[in-house]
Amino acid sequence: MAPRSAIRGAAWWFAVIAAVLFVALRPAHAYIYHLPNRVLGEHPDATGDDASADVQLAALPLSEGPMFSLADAPFGSDLPFIELTGTAMLKTGRDREPTTVVNVVRGCLRCSASAVCACDMV
């Protein structure tokens, strides 16, 4: 049987470690998804025409299931959002002329022809 002091010491050390873990691994951060070093690619066939066979390699869908709109939320008053932040870099392929860097198809309010694009798509 372990001595009393050892059990007491273990309990207190466990409490301290739990407190440190609680601060370091904040629950909110547990629901923010970090996806480093994901490679997406497209591999067209020899004719350069039909890429459909491998087209799914080109997509990375991210879903978290149902979300509430502000009107439907049972509580809370912040605007619900999905935010994607990160960097994308061409690994292979030919170099291109540095003309248009960002081309917004629809709904992006603040984008410029630079390497950085910050949009609030409402």
Partner: protein
């Protein structure tokens, strides 16, 4: 070309093209997402290399649950050479409750080369009350009460640990720590 699109369960049928005759159900995973030269020549979509979205660049009908729902917003970025990483920060406001999806799609414009794009990505799905997913919001109140009960009992747990040698104290502290850690739905 790197594209990001945001859609929900009501307008997801607008994304991609389901080739007639394809075996299996018409789901997002079974559709062609990028417009190819062949599809453009057949007038299915307008520009090869673009993401196929009905109502934006595709002449296809989408069997959406609700045709009045907004067309999914698409953001397009052209990638330069390997020495020019593209930084992005795109926020989409959720206006309608339901299943939400964000998707990053890489489409080639030239169709003559193999392209690979390396992504470093952080995705946040935030509800009006915090980051806890919508399907788990019911836990918040229950675990909040549980957390409060452990706080109330904290002095007793401390006294227990200092005055007795029972392993019960150790297990109580462990259970309390595990329970309190999970539920706090506060944004950072």
């Amino acid at each position: 070309m790197c594209r990001q699109i945001f859609f929900n369960e009501f307008n997801q049928d607008r994304v991609g093209y389901f080739v007639p005759g394809t075996t299996g159900a018409n789901t997002l995973a079974s559709r062609d997402l990028c417009c190819t030269n062949r599809m453009a020549s057949e007038n299915i979509c307008s520009h090869a290399g673009h993401l196929v979205v009905a109502g934006v660049n595709a002449n296809i009908s989408a069997a959406s649950f609700d045709d009045s729902d907004a067309t999914p917003p698409v953001l397009t970025a052209y990638l330069l050479g390997a020495d020019s990483p593209l930084e992005f920060q795109n926020k989409h406001i959720v206006k309608r409750s339901g299943e939400q999806t964000a998707m990053v799609v890489v489409c080639s414009t030239a169709f003559t080369i193999t392209e690979e794009v390396e992504l470093d990505l952080v995705a946040e799905f935030r509800n009006p009350y915090g980051y806890v997913p919508g399907i788990k919001y019911g836990y918040i109140i229950g675990y909040g009460i549980l957390s409060a009960s452990y706080l109330v009992r904290a002095p007793w747990l401390a006294a227990c640990g200092r005055t007795t040698s029972s392993c019960l104290c150790l297990s109580l502290v462990a259970v309390a720590a595990a329970d309190v850690w999970w539920p706090v739905p506060v944004a950072p």
